[in-house]
Amino acid sequence: MPLSKPWRKLLFPALMDVSRRSFLVRGGATLAGAALVGPLLPGCAPAAASLAHIQGQLLGPNAAAGHLLRDPGKIPAPTRTVDTDVLIVGGGVAGLSARRWLHRHGLTDTLLVELDGQAGGNASAGHNPTSAYPWGAHYLPVPDVRNRELLDFLQETGSLTGYAPSGLPIYSDYHLCAAPDERLSISGHWQDGLVPAVGLSAEEQAQTARFFQLIERLKTAVGRDGRDAFRIPLDASSADETYRRLDRISFADYLSQEGYSAAPLRWYLDYACRDDYGAPAAQVSAWAGLHYFACRKGRAHNATGGDVLTWPEGNHFLAGHLRRQAPTPLQTNTLAYDLRETAAGVEVLTYDTAARQSTRVRARRVLLATPAHVARRLLAAVPGHALPPAAAFHHAPWLVANLTVSGLPQGPGRPLSWDNVRYGSASLGYINANQQDISQDTGGPRVVTLYWPLTDEAPDLARRHAYQTSYAQWLPRVVAELETYHPGVTPYLQRADLWVWGHGMVAPTPGLLWGPGRAAAQQPVRGRIFFAHTDFSGISIFEEAFYQGIRAAREMLGAA
């Protein structure tokens, strides 16, 4: 009953949405400080606010152990021997998916080794007393109903609760991303949705509308072979040259050719490419750029194709289910560092980085569920594979920051959403890890996850610089970035935990997806060595990793 609201509106324009409690604790102190220090005019950022109150640490995949691969001479000789039918190297989503599929189809004698302390790969997660939070991939779009394997899996996780009489899946209300889902900050105002819509000229609006009309057409487009032009998994897409030739030019060139020059639209499309591929539109193929939008054909009884499933811990929720659905042994902190063929199959040397012991694993077959450059190094002495050199792949490094904040000073416009992006921002913005929380928002602390692909330099250089950057050097950059979203947020920051991914994800550079290399690279070697990784899809999304695992498992089961 907002009887009194008109008064308030009259008296206090632009009331700030900071919880009272936080204000009393933080704002009060700042105010007292400001009054002593000197005049503070609106718009002046506090000069070099201290970051001493922010706790946190720098984390990342076990790059040091991974780099032992380059120098296996430093690793102690094996002290024991283990036999298994299938050795799976790599516990990311592709490896876990293969392990689950093999177990489900009777191949239960498997061993999975994972370099990191936690299986999940890009779908890793962490938690603190405030919330669980993702360290990488954090959502799954409502899938295409033809993706049966994925729907079945989602039903096992409880995310898909059943089917409506119409045959459409029903998703758990608690796993569908809670509204409001997206907002974009333009000129200090938060608008609804990420596609820039505020302050556009008529021409810019027309181009934006034209682009999304094109996407709607491409969503239903079918090639001459009867297959969809764009599908997930992308191997199910049409081979029709009408579409595949789009893989040979960059998305940026394609957009320019087609007359999409409007800066807001181009910013958004560039953002989308950096978000899904870790590379700007100029570095990914037009096919991939369009696929990002045109593959979203999900349908559901209680959601639309634009909706996503998400969890506080991100896709670690899915990775965890994949892992638990097979009881077969899984060793973490274990590096596979040497691989050779034997008369009986394959022998792989593994090194337990925690116990500092090596093991000789004798397997009939091995599945390399690792990035292509790791697989290639392991196969240095093994002929007959078609793995391209590391330089063929573009993997940008990423910084992911989980920030625990006691409040977020809000600007005008839409309220805190799941995905919060600023127009022109260097990072990709942040997601609210507590979005799925059903309890009332009482202004308590929350965790937001900031994503930042480091695309200003070539991947190798950016990676080297990222590895050399210390926590004390990252922190001011991360805080400055968050300040551009929420001026004055620094005093509210409690923790900043940072994670550097050296090889964030593969980018579908022109020619990678439909050139000859990709199909050849994933071919098994002599029925003994198999490959599964999103590098072999060229697009690093959960659905592709899940599919890669099943594809490789089927190849193994077929070859058995």
Partner: protein, 525 residues
Amino acid sequence: MAELLDEPALGAPVTDAGAPAADARLPGLLLVAVAVIATCGLIYELIAGTLASYLLGDSVTQFSTIIGAYLFAMGIGSWLSKFLDGPLLKWFIRLEILVGIVGGCMAPLLFLLFEYVTSFRLLLYALVGLTGVLVGLEIPLLMRILEHRFPFKDLVARVFTFDYVGALLASLIFPLVLVPHLGLIRTSLLFGALNLVVASVVLARFAETRPYRRRFAGGIGAALAGLGALFYFANDLLAHTETLAFQDQVIYSKSTPYQRIVLTRNPRELRLFLNGNLQFSSLDEYRYHEALVHPLMQALPSARRVLVLGGGDGLAVRELLKYKQLTSIRLVDLDPGMTQLFRHSPLLLALNKGALNDPKVQVISADAYQWVRADTARYDAVIVDFPDPSNYSIGKLYSAAFYTALTKRLAPGGRLVVQSTSPYLARQSFWCVAHTLQAAGLHVVPYHLYVPSFGEWGYVLAGPDAQWRGDAGPLPAGLRYVTAGTIHDMLRFPPDMAEVPTEVNQLNNQALVRYFEEDWGPYVH
């Protein structure tokens, strides 16, 4: 104005009695200062009048007395001016600094202290008086400074012309620009700063200020910094003081971790506000709570166990306790501050008849959604009395997922009722609640009544079948609104409140919050 000021006749000193021959423009500068300080003076008066009207109500009385008191205080100031002797310019600068600080802080002070002082009127008139005295000193003092630089008739004509021009300017920009765009607090601070600017310009431009220039500049700088900081943080300050929103006397206010609870009183009624939104008026809350409870309970004569979600005021429980057959009433409210208040305050115990202290009643402080999902008990009746779905957080408590979880807590044959905002003012919102309950697999019986404090108000009764009968059991004696006849009337929806198609409110679309914004938007903006 520039031409006027450049006239040599005006600029030249008439006698040599004044300060050493100053820049010919300086007296002109002082005339501009007259306009500025006149604007500031009137702005302070308008701020005091507006604030008094807001805080104390009865705007005619407040404006009249404030204007009267302010003008009278100015008269005192004018009289006092004769006691000021010595370097007049120095006095003037001092005065401007004081006016800047007192006038600038007037609105923030009144606003912040409203809740904490026992006699607000005393503070209000003290501040108005002080500001008035200081402002009253300004013009006489300036006239004395200028007296040797103009012929007397010119002096009076110039000074009062600029004075009244400033007044006109203030009276126009105050309602049209300042209040809508800056709000009262920032307006007050801004004009305080203007007085300080006048002080600093005079300080900088008149040579005779040299001996004390540095010292005064430091003071002006500090005062400007203080006002600037208050200006910068004005919104933060406002965020935890909402007293201006209330028309009546605030008799209790408390910020809990969850909300701001405010009780106000006037001779006729007691009102409860949560986060500035009216929850009930003691005059007509019986209509709201009888309608919330009795249609449901009458349909369930054999009900024994009841769950109440929200309703920490105990007023729904008061109605429930009229059914002697009930064995347990469980109330789940988020905010222990709220239930504590309604368990201990004598004024409120008189209103809810001590309902929350009844041995049948169990009060649980918990988040309703989490609690319902974790609970395993079953209830014959559930009363859902949450605040209106004005934000995404509360919107979750109106979602199909929540109703699905709640349905699992219903005993066989059990029913629930949901307060569903106004079907007249928020027609889409009301029907969205009904459709959302249907989507959770329930049959619904929507109804409504008129509550004078709220307007036309609606509820949705829901159960496993459509067999609801408003005449299943007897109504308790002594009800003031609900009878068998009024229940029948409440079920009828005239065309202007009739059902409209809506989406179902899901966690992933929060359709209801959007409807609520659309529906209520025209009334709050």
